[in-house]
Amino acid sequence: MSQSELTMSTGHEVLMESSPYGMEKKKLGMWIFIVSDACTFATFLFGYGYMRVGSQNWGTPFEFSSILNGIIMTFVLLSSSLSMLAAVRATQAGQKASANKWLGLTMLLGTVFAILHLREWFKMIGEGWRLFYNPLGGAAQFGACFFSVTGLHLTHVISGVIALAFIARGYNQGRYDSSHVETAGLYWHFVDLVWMFVFPLMYLMNAAR
């Protein structure tokens, strides 16, 4: 039972110190989670950098078709951020139908991103890429770094879609309000912004030039 529920159930206001951040606990909690998750991603990316610096024959295998796929993925993810913003805006205005539409679009775009990403993965696996094998003869670390970094990001996207589905369901049932949608939105934007690092570092830095 949370403080706010207690306040509501006892019928009298429990007086509290105001939060120095001026934001409710869900949102603050999400921000703190984001700080820690950013460090987790950073560790993966630094590990990739370490592997790359330490390897003697790092290849740059991505043809322009892969880069193009990456660009499309990036645009899809950025558009989903925009639709997420619209969804938050709609829930705040209490427009349920519009909110559902935008939330659905966000989930759809997230799914499209995941599908495009998995297509890329399967294409690479078909070409012989493995966590421990580089079919082009360069450093075997490439597969390890690529699949683990993008895999971590993909996990975040997929869990984000699932979380959004739960939030949307709760919102429609009246259990959740706009603040829940807004908190989920923070997570969604964060996953989007991580991609802003993953895309240049994993794709562009490995483009065959």
Partner: protein
């Protein structure tokens, strides 16, 4: 909570399109035959710019309490800066590796 309606949806769309343009610039830069070092530096700068804009506008930090800004950025940057202590050993690995 969060009645931070400072930006219209149109402005948000502008920001997202701006981010897309930055991604485009990154792609163009990639094919400019820059050295790996220069390219990395440029890409990281652009990515950081995107992240900063994203955090400030898409994630509303600009319109939240200033304390939030002064919490999340220093905490995250602290870890990011410290992880740079790994580089000397990454270069040692390349330089002193067995069979060189």
């Amino acid at each position: 909570m969060s009645s931070n309606q400072e930006l219209s949806m149109g402005s948000y769309a502008g920001i997202v399109i701006g981010l897309m343009i930055i991604v485009g610039i990154e792609v163009v830069l990639t094919y400019q035959h820059l050295s790996v070092r220069t390219l990395l530096f440029a890409l990281l700068c652009l990515a950081s710019l995107e992240a900063f804009v994203g955090v400030m506008y898409l994630m509303h930090v600009k319109y939240e309490n200033r304390l939030l800004f002064w919490t999340i950025f220093p905490a995250t940057l602290f870890v990011l800066v410290l992880l740079n202590y790994l580089w000397p050993d990454a270069y040692r690995m390349a330089r002193m590796s067995l069979g060189r």
